[in-house]
């Protein structure tokens, strides 16, 4: 199951100049999104808020990706949303809450963030699908490389 039409880069043995260039372009796009994503997570300093925000944005990006350049998901999805949100921080928060407030409180917070993430991700997808119907992406080809 692959919902993200991501390019296959670097995986195969056939690593010619063309695929090396493609890989380097991909990595630049990912870095371009990862820098603002990580800085925003650091500045907001509230993991639940950025995790829910990232879930919403990624849902929206995926729903609006059809007909747009590859950079759409590489910069926005893999780079920005991937770096903005953090799984390890979520698990660490669960661990600290177990020690601070006990099992049930910790699990309740964990579950709340999970349900919130699902809700905001679905909300972003719904909004994206609506926008895609209303204003179909047309800039597609002019950015393709």
């Amino acid at each position: 199951m692959s919902w993200m039409p991501l390019p296959k880069s670097g995986g195969s043995a056939a690593l010619g100049i063309a695929s090396l260039r493609r890989l380097l372009t991909d990595l630049s796009f990912v870095a371009l999104g990862a820098i603002p994503g990580s800085l925003l997570r650091w500045l907001v300093d509230n993991l639940a808020v950025v995790n829910l925000l990232g879930a919403f944005v990624l849902g929206w990006l995926i729903a609006t990706a059809a007909g747009r350049p590859r950079a759409w998901l590489l910069v926005g999805g893999v780079g920005f949303c991937g770096s903005l949100t953090s799984f390890s921080g979520w698990i660490l928060a669960l661990h600290s809450r177990i020690q601070g407030s006990g099992w049930w409180v910790a699990l309740a917070y964990w579950l709340l963030e999970l349900l919130g993430g699902l809700f905001f991700s679905a909300l972003g997808m719904g909004l994206g699908q609506w926008m895609q119907r209303r204003w179909p992406a047309q800039l597609g080809d002019c950015f393709k490389h």
Partner: protein, 119 residues
């Protein structure tokens, strides 16, 4: 925002995101489905986080190492948003519940294993 601190976060975040991108793409061709790759990268980040936390807590740990490695690298390596989308889009019956439980149990175990190693 102190520029030198922001630089540390960004300098850790870029290789973290690159590693996630390359590993997930690499694993997607070898594992039955994409969520396996994301899960593996997430668990890896939990393990390293548990291992590195006590190490950076010791006196004499270089200042800024936490921003570079934890906020920057590990924060970017692991992802919550992709997991949410995968949970929403998995079609096989029971698969979303298994992935959520696997993330919870696996992430906690990986973190604790890391903590045990780092102490």
């Amino acid at each position: 925002m102190i520029p030198s601190q922001a630089l540390l976060v960004a300098a850790g975040a870029v290789p973290g995101a690159w590693l996630r991108f390359l590993l997930v793409n690499h694993l997607a061709e070898r594992l039955p489905s994409r969520p396996w790759g994301t899960l593996l990268v997430n668990l890896m980040a939990c393990f390293v986080l548990g291992w590195i936390l006590p190490v950076l807590d010791r006196p004499g740990a270089p200042p800024g190492a936490s921003l570079l490695l934890i906020t920057g690298f590990l924060g970017s390596l692991s992802t919550f948003s992709t997991l949410m989308v995968e949970l929403l889009t998995l079609r096989a019956p029971g698969a979303p519940v298994k992935l959520a439980l696997g993330s919870l149990v696996g992430g906690s175990l990986a973190l604790m294993a890391g903590l045990a190693l780092g102490r």
